[in-house]
């Protein structure tokens, strides 16, 4: 009885899965859905490597149950690129070298993606606060900040171009 049917939209697709009530969302994504983008860094809600989007908010998937997502719209790093074209946030991390080992990157991308919708034209301070739930042990953050700044410009240019 501890298993339940869960229906959600995952990266734009309707899915229906049987999950154990105790299954953490990050394990559900990685092991049941084979979406290994969301990483497990600490499993204690400290590092942000597991950050994904639920109903338009950044959430740490290691501290959320899969059953809680019934009826939700979930997006992972796998859902960022569209038709093989990188999302501007991904492009910016690539161009600005916003990563070294890449372990924190899926979480950084998903947090930056959401943060730039919350605050499309942030100051450097606001970026640092906005991504303060994501740790990186390699880059020293400088290039990550640059990447987010560059992504902000790209997204704004796109906005103007499509207006």
């Amino acid at each position: 009885m501890a298993k339940q049917i869960v229906k959600m939209t995952l990266n734009g697709q309707q899915i229906e899965q049987l999950v154990d009530s105790r299954t953490l969302l990050v394990h559900f994504l990685r092991e049941q859905m084979n979406l290994t983008g969301a990483h497990i860094g600490c499993e204690t809600s400290q590092c942000g490597a597991c950050t994904i989007d639920i109903d338009g908010e950044s959430v740490k998937a290691c501290t959320h149950l899969a059953v809680q997502c019934d009826g939700s719209d979930v997006k992972t790093v796998e859902g960022l690129a569209e038709n093989g074209v990188l999302h501007p946030v991904q492009e910016a991390f690539y161009e600005e070298h916003g990563l070294q080992c890449g372990y924190c990157t899926p979480g950084m991308l998903m947090r930056s993606y959401r943060f730039l919708q919350e605050n499309p034209n942030p100051t450097e301070d606001e970026i640092r606060t906005g991504i303060s739930g994501n740790l990186c042990r390699c880059t020293g953050y400088q290039n990550i900040i640059k990447a987010v700044q560059s992504a902000a410009t790209k997204l704004q240019d796109n906005e103007t171009a499509s207006a």
């Binding site: 149950l65 606060t129 906005g130 739930g133």
Partner: protein, 287 residues
């Protein structure tokens, strides 16, 4: 780390939730933001057989004004507290302090009610609730009752809530006109609990203190109100010397637990600093 097995329930109304808690008894726990409960379950510090998820009960979130009262639904998240226009206008201490809690992702999930109900002396909302003279609305099998913050926090992980109670709302009054406020929190890094923290609300009348609350986080088994420190300032025109005396009175009631954040002497000394800074900042904002 995967939590132990449990049965998951998702009621749609408070009545349904109370019914579940009544029938399931002490084997059930409420799941709010889950950012204290799920970590405790992973560590087997908590092993409930049933989780009653109250995230889809709309009446439990949001802020409203009812007469003189500002009613904050228990499921209002930290980020919603930070963004709320009513709180920013009338009780600005709460949004300002909520920015110092955890990080953006945790603040999307963590709720003001969960922060208070958890009874963790390291959590920030208990001292803030004391500073705002908050009143808790609790619904149990016998209906609703009101518990003032001063009678709510009984010990570490111990509150006035029974197993079958739900904290539904936290009610505060708007600050007096011209009141100053401050929350000073010493922490080692973003997302850390306080090494020592102090909340102050102060109002002046003709230059002397007409209303004052001084409360402390993580400096004893529960959040504490520093009555003796308040008495030093009450009715007075505040001087630097009086601020120091108030801080000493506050330090005298500190009883922090030693941990990786520091030993008792260090934490108590830092409490004195936080109290002085919070009083000074609150006064500088009062008019």
């Amino acid at each position: 780390m995967i939590p132990p097995n449990f049965e998951y329930h998702r009621p749609a109304t408070v009545d349904e939730a109370v019914g579940l808690l009544t029938s399931l008894g002490s084997e059930a726990k409420i799941l709010a933001g889950g950012h204290s409960l799920l970590p405790m379950m992973k560590l087997r510090f908590a092993m409930p057989e049933h989780l009653v998820d109250i995230n889809r009960i709309p009446e439990l979130s949001g802020v409203s004004v009812v007469g003189d009262d500002i009613v904050i639904g228990a499921m209002t998240t930290e980020n919603a507290v930070i963004a709320d226009p009513i709180l920013n206008e009338k009780v600005p201490l709460l949004p300002e302090a909520a920015k110092l809690i955890a990080d953006p992702q945790v603040r999307n999930r963590g709720t003001i009610g969960g922060d208070i109900a958890h009874g963790d002396p390291a959590n920030d909302h208990p001292a803030l609730a004391l500073a705002c003279d908050a009143v808790m609305t609790v619904v149990g099998p016998e209906g609703a009752r009101q518990i003032p913050a001063s009678e709510f926090f009984l010990g570490t992980y111990w509150t006035a809530l029974n197993d079958d109670d739900i904290l539904t709302a936290i009610t505060v009054k708007a600050f007096p006109n011209g009141a100053g406020f401050s929350y000073r929190k010493l922490k080692r890094k973003t997302g850390d609990w306080a090494t020592a923290a102090c909340a102050v609300v102060v109002a002046l009348s003709g230059g002397s203190v007409s209303h004052i609350r001084i409360t402390l986080t993580n400096l004893g088994p529960t959040a504490i109100r520093a009555h003796d420190a308040e008495a030093v300032l009450s009715g007075q025109t505040v001087t630097d010397e009086l601020i120091k005396q108030a801080a000493e009175k506050a330090m005298a009631i500190c009883d922090p637990a030693e941990d990786l954040r520091g030993d008792v002497e260090y934490k108590t000394a830092m409490a004195g600093q936080m109290v002085q800074r919070a009083i000074a900042e609150a006064l500088s904002r009062a008019n």
